[in-house]
Symmetry: C2
Subunit: 302 residues, 2 copies
């Protein structure tokens, strides 16, 4: 089995949704990604936390065989995010972001991780994403995510990263911002022209649109009637996507990429059913298979 390396944020979230609220729960793109990908593959994390980061929270990941030897723990406070969702569960409203130790994050890839076949650069400063790319030796497949903050503040650096990755996974709103195009079908092509061989636009409750090798592959999200907390849905989509690719371990293969999108959808659908990472932690393979079968029936009609 091959391994996935993720570099991203590890922290605490305070979240309010129409269903309820939670304070100071486990969050961060690398945590969501890892817990999702861990259902498919071995996962290694590179990130940074402060001295307030609890051992119990590390244990949630190590219990799922996620390797945290690349998680630096340094003096200071851990990254915190506070947000809320109103009716439109597709859109988070950020109330507060405290970068804390994440502000001076210097991603050091442990020797053992440098030969990782699958690499996901979660939503961090494109300058750091580039530093990671420079440290990892010939991965089979590299994916990247980004956000509006970097699109507006470090566009040139981001463009350089895009030239070096295989797959861009991006929210619809950010795809629009980066291309200036509202239409997702057109935006995906434009994004592919910037470098990535594959582009996956994440559409929240509407699923995803993938564009690669002049083909579109588009599907809706798995229908979830009671969305509790959409936080991390995009990162768990990426986790299911890369976890699956690492599991089949065939590098760039468009058919595998399509299946990877399906597994991304499945992971996202579990995530939104509970607050934080709860659903991903309790999940077992039989539930994933059951939902996969149900998803197939929703999109094929039989």
């Amino acid at each position: 089995m091959s391994e996935v390396l993720v570099v991203g944020s590890v922290g605490y979230d305070t979240i309010s949704t129409p269903v309820g609220q939670r304070e100071h729960i486990l969050g961060g793109s690398a945590n969501y990604f890892s817990l999702a990908a861990s259902h498919y593959s071995k996962v290694n994390v590179v990130g940074v936390v402060g001295d307030d980061y609890e051992e119990d929270h590390k244990k949630i990941l190590t219990d799922r065989k996620v390797d945290l030897s690349g998680l630096q723990q340094i003096p200071g406070k851990t990254f915190c995010w506070e947000g809320k969702y109103e009716n439109d569960m597709n859109e988070a409203i950020t109330l507060d972001t405290q970068l804390n130790v994440f502000e001076n994050f210097d991603p050091k890839i442990p020797e053992a991780y440098k030969k990782s076949s699958y690499l996901f650069l979660a939503n961090i400063d494109p300058i750091l994403q580039m530093q990671v790319l420079d440290q990892v030796e010939s991965p089979k497949l590299v994916g990247v995510d980004t956000m509006n903050f970097w699109i507006s503040s470090k566009l040139d650096e981001l463009k350089k990263v895009l030239e070096r990755v295989d797959v861009l996974l991006i929210n619809e709103g950010e795809a629009r911002e980066l291309t200036g195009m509202w239409n997702g079908v057109a935006a995906a092509q434009k994004l592919a022209e910037m470098g990535p061989k594959g582009v996956v636009i994440k559409r929240g409750e509407y699923g995803f649109l993938m564009y690669a090798e002049n083909q579109y592959f588009i599907l809706p999200a798995f229908p979830v009637k009671d969305v509790v907390d959409p936080t991390g849905a995009g990162d768990t989509f990426a986790g299911g996507f890369f976890g699956y690719l690492s599991k089949v371990n065939d590098g760039w293969n468009i058919n595998h990429l399509k299946q990877a999108c399906v597994h991304g959808c499945l992971m996202a659908s579990f995530t939104v059913e509970s607050f934080g990472v709860d659903a991903l932690v309790g999940l077992d393979w039989a539930e994933i298979e059951k939902r996969h079968a149900l998803y197939k029936s929703v999109i094929t009609g039989h």
Copy 2:
């Protein structure tokens, strides 16, 4: 072959989109519906126009074998709508609506239409929809559409109509308004509780969500890179949907309903590629089959 009867608006539109603009072109729900459905089935129209309605515009429909003997022409001006689209092509901004002769529309179903097997009540006053229902003898399948105006002004009447129809086809925004639920998955169930055995929520560029017999069937729209004018997409979805059902002529059958949604998507995808009804007029069956094959590959990945 069985026949579809549609009762709805027939009129003129003035439309502005980011791509361009057109003045006083053929519009109205019944026209869009009929031209789409005509590719599958015989279609009969009941509606009203003023004495300014041009013979050439009738000919566009009769050339496609649409029967207009139920189209009343009375003194006065024809219904006119003016709207624009900005970036979000899913949402029309109404600039002006002139009901004109449509204001006192009294739908009379010609004797020859009363035994229509498939009936679609396009977006008109629910009181008129009820009058039509009272005139048609035991149709095999009845569908209805509505809009925010009737939801806010004639909710009780609308609810009575919903109790008498088989399928509700409705925009996402209006599904939210009618149920008070943002989540489409939950809203569809709630709408089904109001009466219709089947609910189809039209999601614009994100396709549709169908709920019937405790099953969901959900697919994205066919990917259109250059959307020219989304006007009538919803009505042509309904046209493809009912045209297909009339063609297979098997009444309520959930498997046919699912295929009908796919044909609704295909018709909508052609519609948005040109201004007004242009694309529907020029279309031939080979193009529909070609797009159907392409759509399958987009959603199945092979």
